[in-house]
């Protein structure tokens, strides 16, 4: 039988940040790369993000934040995934972050952080290299 799984990604906008153009652009890039992308919509709490990720059985969560609340929101998502025994789901961040926060985010379990100007192909390739569909 066909053992090829499609990568499923949740693109989520946690917090009060209302700018979702970047998230939509990346969602389209992921679709063009052959992934199935669930888009969460705006103003998600970390709890809502994790619940959606579990219901949708995604391989990766891409968190988008341009409003500065990432140091609370992103690690909280990682924490909740652990609590729900779902920490096999890879978590990435995209958006505007101060340089000094990036290592802190990675320490907190965010696998990679993409800042403005990163070419879409680079992001897509990173996902293909680092995110394996569950079970493979």
């Amino acid at each position: 039988m066909n053992k090829e799984r499609r990568i499923r990604v949740l693109v989520a906008k946690p917090g009060l940040d209302g700018h979702d153009r970047g998230a939509r652009i990346i969602a389209r890039a992921y679709r063009d790369a052959g992934f199935e992308v669930v888009y969460s919509g705006l103003h998600q709490t970390p709890e809502e993000v994790v619940q959606a990720a579990i219901q949708e059985d995604v391989d990766m969560i891409g968190l988008s934040s341009l409003a500065g609340a990432h140091m609370y929101l992103f690690p909280r998502v990682v924490e909740l995934l652990k609590e729900k025994n779902a920490d096999d789901i890879v978590v990435c961040g995209g958006g505007i972050f101060p340089e000094e926060d990036i290592p802190k985010l990675k320490n907190a379990g965010i696998k990679e952080v993409f800042t403005p100007g990163t070419p879409l192909t680079e992001i897509v390739n990173w996902v293909k290299e680092n995110v394996k569909p569950r079970g493979l």
Binding site: K3, Y39, Q51, I54, Q55, E56, D57
Partner: protein, 319 residues
């Protein structure tokens, strides 16, 4: 099987993973489905279809809210189209149902059509069974409103809603005949827009002209709603309930429906299985590529190529 137990008790992770495994054709998933089948048949399945942009997701969101208020649990399958070019998909219906994400009584799952054979794919039909076995009182399936979907959805649903918006005018005339035959309830959403009376009139006329269909049975009602403003939803759910009562009040009807559903399920599964088996075989052996090249080089016509492949695989002769 442990996973069967988990699903019957509503374990979200187990349900989510099984739906994914079904979608990805994992053989073990099929075994689970076999065991789960006896636990299906309890959920009431509502199909919601209509052109893109008519407000299906918003409507479903409101229906879920009302159903939850009456203490019912709901599973939602939101189907969006797979890109025929990349094989990927953007599944955005969840956005309209955000307020239910933390409600344990609601399970929302987005699925892509994965386009291979069109219509309501086998995976979606199986996912309905899983949400049914999970114990949901209602399963709402929202599908892309183009192509074969509209007709396929009725075979998997107890009640099918056709959603339109006013001002479709000539579009109503141009609606494929199939849609009118499969709709149990017609919903004109965004009814604050201009042209609602005409649209109601057009649909009513079409229903009247098709009287052989409803003469002894259910005449599809036409409702107006404004889903974004929570108007008309209560009435819609009442009509769905009426349809439910109509279906269950008639023993002959019930057995006919069960027969049709089993027939449809089995036919679709056989077609799906045969096609998949053959394709996997001929793509991995290179036969498919070879056949394509032979056709391109005009060494063989596609009909002969097809018959050669199929009769070899089925070990019988195609007449």
């Amino acid at each position: 099987m442990e996973i069967v137990q988990k699903i019957k008790t509503g374990d979200i992770r187990a349900v989510a993973r099984l739906i994914r495994d079904i979608d990805d054709n994992i053989p073990e998933a099929r075994e689970v489905l076999k065991e789960l089948y006896s636990a299906t048949g309890n959920a009431y399945v509502i199909g919601v279809t209509g052109a893109p942009g008519v407000g299906k997701s918003t409507l479903v969101d409101q229906m879920v809210t009302h159903l939850r208020k009456s203490g019912k649990t709901v599973g939602v399958l939101a189907v969006d189209p797979t890109s025929p070019f990349s094989g990927g998909a953007i599944l955005g219906d969840r956005v309209r149902m955000q307020r239910h994400s933390m409600d344990e009584g609601v399970f929302i799952r987005s699925m892509a059509t994965r386009g291979a054979f069109g219509g309501l794919t086998q995976s979606t039909r199986s996912a309905i069974d899983v949400l049914d076995a999970m114990g949901k009182d209602y399963v709402i399936v929202e599908t892309v409103g183009v192509g074969q979907d509209e007709v396929d959805i009725v075979r998997s649903s107890d009640t099918t809603l056709i959603v339109l918006v006013p001002g479709m005018g000539d579009d109503v005339q141009a609606l494929k005949a199939g849609i009118l035959e499969v709709g149990d309830i017609f919903v004109i959403n965004k009814s604050d827009r201009e042209g609602v009376d005409k649209t109601v009139g057009d649909i009513r006329l079409m229903i009247e002209m098709d009287e052989k269909r409803y003469k002894d049975g259910w005449k599809p009602p036409i409702l107006t709603t404004q889903a974004a403003f929570d108007k008309g939803i209560r009435e819609l759910l009442d009509e769905i309930e009426k349809h439910h009562l109509y279906l269950s009040s008639n023993k002959t009807m019930l057995s006919k429906l069960r027969y049709e559903k089993a027939k449809s399920d089995l036919s679709e599964m056989i077609k799906d299985r045969i096609a998949k088996e053959i394709f996997i075989d001929i793509t991995s052996s290179g036969e498919f590529e070879e056949a394509i090249k032979s056709i391109v080089d005009k060494q063989i016509d596609p009909y002969t190529a097809c018959d050669t492949i199929v009769s070899a695989k089925l070990k019988s002769n195609i007449r």
